[in-house]
């Protein structure tokens, strides 16, 4: 049983490692800023899953996992949501002002609207 639990924990840990790579790739390479925000969330999910593997391996005293990393992940999910909301608000403002949702320097931005 313990061997099986161990395998399952490392499997999710490896999945977390893969998600970190995918999210990071999305953040550095995608031209669309909204997609980069989603990539940021995938990166965060990957880091939390690695933490989840740590928590699962620390199972003891009749608990399914170590409660300290679990509590840290709950805090992390809420903070990641707050950061996402702020990023989305910035992006919406950027789109209202420039009519573009990317930071591409080669395309000239349309003149800012007067309602700012």
């Amino acid at each position: 049983m313990s061997a099986l639990a161990l395998t399952s924990a490392s499997l999710f840990g490896l999945c977390g490692a893969a998600l970190v790579g995918i999210g990071l790739f999305c953040i550095v390479s995608h031209p669309d800023l909204l997609r980069r925000i989603i990539g940021f969330n995938i990166l965060g999910a990957g880091i939390f899953l690695v933490f989840g593997a740590v928590a699962r391996r620390g199972a003891a005293m009749g608990l399914g996992g170590d409660p300290v990393p679990q509590a840290m992940v709950i805090t992390g999910i809420v903070v990641a949501f707050a950061a996402t909301a702020l990023a989305v608000a910035l992006l919406r403002r950027l789109a209202s002002l420039t009519g573009s949702a990317s930071l591409d320097a080669t395309t000239p931005a349309t003149p800012p609207r007067s309602d700012a």
Partner: protein
Amino acid sequence: MSLVFDIALVAGLIALALHVVVTRDSRGAILAFIAFGLLLGIGWARLASVDVALTEAAIGGGLTGMLLLRAHAHLAREIPPEARARAEPRRWLAPAIACGLVTLALGAVVLAFPRPAPSLAHQAVASLETTGLGNPVTAVLLAYRAIDTLLEKIVLILALVGVWSLSRDGAWGGASQLRPAIIPEPLVFLARVLPPFGVLIAVYQVWVGADLPGGTFQAGTILAAMALLVMLAGLRPAPPTQARALRVMLAGGPALFVLVGFLGVAAAQGFLSYPEAIAKPLIVGIEAALTLSIAGTLALLVAGPPDKAPAS
């Protein structure tokens, strides 16, 4: 057998994440991300972290998905079509190799975790009696590491201040416009039927969170979802952000938390320590006030910066 299920789950998660990165369709990417959040919730349940599973499914899938869908609709209105349809070749090989290396390094770390695994479960369970709680995760959040939770509440409030400050000057202090132009009938029906159940489930989650999986974050998210449902269906307008009652509700949870923290200096061992005899009533009281603050903050974060001028 369960390992086969886990492998399928992990394959699904990675496939959805890849789909988010490669697809051209931004709306499809958001929907894939919502599915990803729900699958990840099942993954957390498989890791025996039911508290995290509830939080991930509610916030990671639900609220973030709604936030992104609203942002997508806003961008579709604001950005002219000719500015969108650009498919330039972009450099992807170097970033892909670098990110692959990060994944490999992290994977090596995961496989090289120390054995036997370090764990704080013994300490967490050993001190559980002094808090009067039965759920060790709640004990970590509100007793052992209460300072983390307090600071997190303050981060939430700061994020909300940041979002509000992105409103136009004229709309400062006004309300967000959540009501869509056309409201589908089933949405109105659901917005009338679901909130009583949602409120009941949220109260249950706060109460049961002391001893079983559940707690303030999960309950706050459910309440926020109910408030958003009512506002989206146009049954109630979003509250103006300058309303005093709203601001008292938002600041009330963290304020009570800080107050109890300083009480600990006088009546117990130090900041944020509870007198043992009344530890549980104090913790449940803080949880109740925090739930309302979290619900309000999360709902307003999704609603976004105010865009209607205040009525004054």
